[in-house]
């Protein structure tokens, strides 16, 4: 592996870790948002 | 001084409970003995090799054993909820911690001293000339292990999977103890032994820092 490839790999992998972390947070937020909405709707209908 | 007298009473209780059955001490002793024997298969225990590896192995065995030994110190209060009773009976919850960690340190120290003859014979390292320094290192390290370990066992006792959780919380946190005490013991068992001031310094720093932390935060660990 040449030096430039190493530098490149380091940047790509580093960015990937942050990006994947962001994606998991965003996905969990979206799922939970939907759940809250659904529960609220059922609550309103029950009243 | 009510803190000290409370602590003394509670410490007496801890010691009486243990010395009635000696369950904890016997089990830990046999456990470490087993590990010490098993370790001998992982490298060639000649004198020179032993001097290099034995201190580290000894402390590693000790750390593992203590992570199992410290499980019970809060767990055994749970069935009859004796912890609430203790909390009501003392003015300062710090004395509960102080008593428990003193008892644990004492148990650890006792096990270490009991194992020392086996260790020195089986791994062929002479300890008699440096025994007093070794005892000091043992004391500082056992104190450190039991200070942090007692606090963490109060945490793990309230969680699921506690048997696995305590070692997981304890071992990384106690890295400084492992490094410092292994290096200090290595210095004492060297062909030209020297007093390991740096090792004992680190152990003291660890003890003081974590004792202060428990003094500040210990009461929250025991909240209902």
């Amino acid at each position: 592996m040449s030096s430039l490839d190493s530098v490149f790999a380091a940047y790509v992998l580093g960015w990937a870790v942050f990006f994947v972390f962001y994606l998991t947070v965003a996905r969990r937020t979206a799922t939970l948002d939907k759940e809250v909405e659904r529960l609220k709707n059922t609550l309103n209908r029950g009243k | 001084m009510s803190l000290l007298s409370n602590t003394a009473v509670l410490l007496g209780k801890e010691l009486r409970t243990e010395f009635r059955s000696r369950e904890l001490l016997t089990t830990t002793f046999i456990f470490i003995l087993t590990i010490i024997v098993l370790f001998s298969f992982t490298f060639d225990p000649t004198s020179d090799e032993s001097r290099r590896f034995a201190p580290g192995l000894f402390w590693l065995a000790f750390l593992f054993a203590s992570s199992l030994m410290l499980q019970s110190c809060f767990l055994r209060e749970q069935p009859n909820d004796t912890l609430s009773a203790l909390r009501l009976s003392v003015s300062d919850p710090f004395s509960i911690f102080l008593a428990k960690l003193a008892a644990n340190a004492l148990f650890l120290l006792l096990t270490e001293l009991l194992l020392l003859p086996f260790f020195t014979v089986m791994y062929n390292v002479p300890v008699l000339p440096v025994l007093h320094w070794l005892a000091l290192v043992f004391f500082l390290a056992s104190l450190g292990i039991s200070i942090a370990g007692t606090a963490l066992s109060a945490i793990s006792a309230q969680a699921r999977m506690r048997e696995l959780l305590l070692p997981l919380l304890m071992l990384p946190l106690l890295t400084p103890i492992l490094v410092a005490s292994a290096e200090a013991t290595k210095a004492l068992l060297d062909r030209a032994p020297y007093v390991p001031w740096a090792g004992m310094g680190f152990l003291t720093v660890f003890d003081v820092v974590f004792l202060t932390a428990i003094w500040l935060f210990g009461e929250y660990l025991l909240e209902e």
Partner: protein, 225 residues
């Protein structure tokens, strides 16, 4: 929504600019040549990760004193983001080490202590999954977080004291030790970009944790009916 998307775009732009600067603006280093350019990303991430863990430590302290759910949420958010940063540090480190030293991993002081730090915060997050009751989880994990953070300097000190006695591969001096002015400018820009990223991620993760609390409340209401 608009504001957060904008913040995200700004962060991506800053990160891109930092990468550009470290590839094209920073001058070539004499001994390591192009390889040294990992430094701007690697070290800046470690600094930003340390900042995240420090904010988490303050949040843990505030939780223990004030007992407000927001400090618990901030505590987890910081621990997770800090852990992500140190994961990046532990990945980029060996990639740098392989061509520079010839091996991916050496039990050198900094590597080892960073790894212990990483393990401590993994246990923190693990502890949180093993306690059901929210108040107890918040309190106990905050206390463990405090213990873990005050342990970090002792771990670094102890490992550094003994492990650097061994012949360790030569690491280049940190910033300040005769670093070229352009290099240090690029480095501090990188540090700034990484801090923006960390703040952005903490904010996102914090929102998730607040949403969870809200979800619990709504769920309990629904169960009551």
């Amino acid at each position: 929504m608009g504001k957060r998307a904008l913040a995200g775009a700004v962060v991506v732009f800053l990160m891109g600019a930092a990468a550009y600067a470290s590839f094209y603006i920073a001058p070539e280093e004499k001994t390591m040549h192009v390889l040294q350019r990992i430094f701007y990303f690697h070290a800046a991430t470690a600094w930003a990760g340390m900042t995240a863990l420090f904010i988490g430590f303050v949040a843990n302290l505030l939780y223990v004193w004030r007992r407000e759910g927001k400090w618990d949420a901030l505590g987890v958010a910081c621990a997770e983001v800090g852990l992500a940063c140190f994961t990046v540090v532990l990945i980029t480190g060996p990639i740098w080490a392989k061509p520079a030293w010839g091996i991916y991993w050496t039990w050198d002081a900094r590597l080892t202590s960073t790894f212990i730090l990483w393990l401590l915060y993994v246990s923190y997050l693990l502890l949180r999954t093993l306690i059901e009751e929210p108040d107890r989880r918040a309190l106990l994990s905050a206390l463990f977080g405090i213990f873990a953070f005050i342990d970090v300097p002792i771990v670094f000190g102890a490992i550094r004291w003994w492990r650097t006695q061994h012949p360790a591969p030569v690491i280049m001096g940190g910033p300040g030790s005769g670093l070229d002015p352009t290099m240090s400018k690029v480095f501090f820009f990188s540090v700034f970009a990484l801090h923006c990223l960390v703040v952005f991620l903490i904010n996102e993760r914090y929102r998730l944790e607040k949403l969870r609390a809200k979800f619990e409340i709504v769920r309990r209401e629904a169960e009551a009916i």
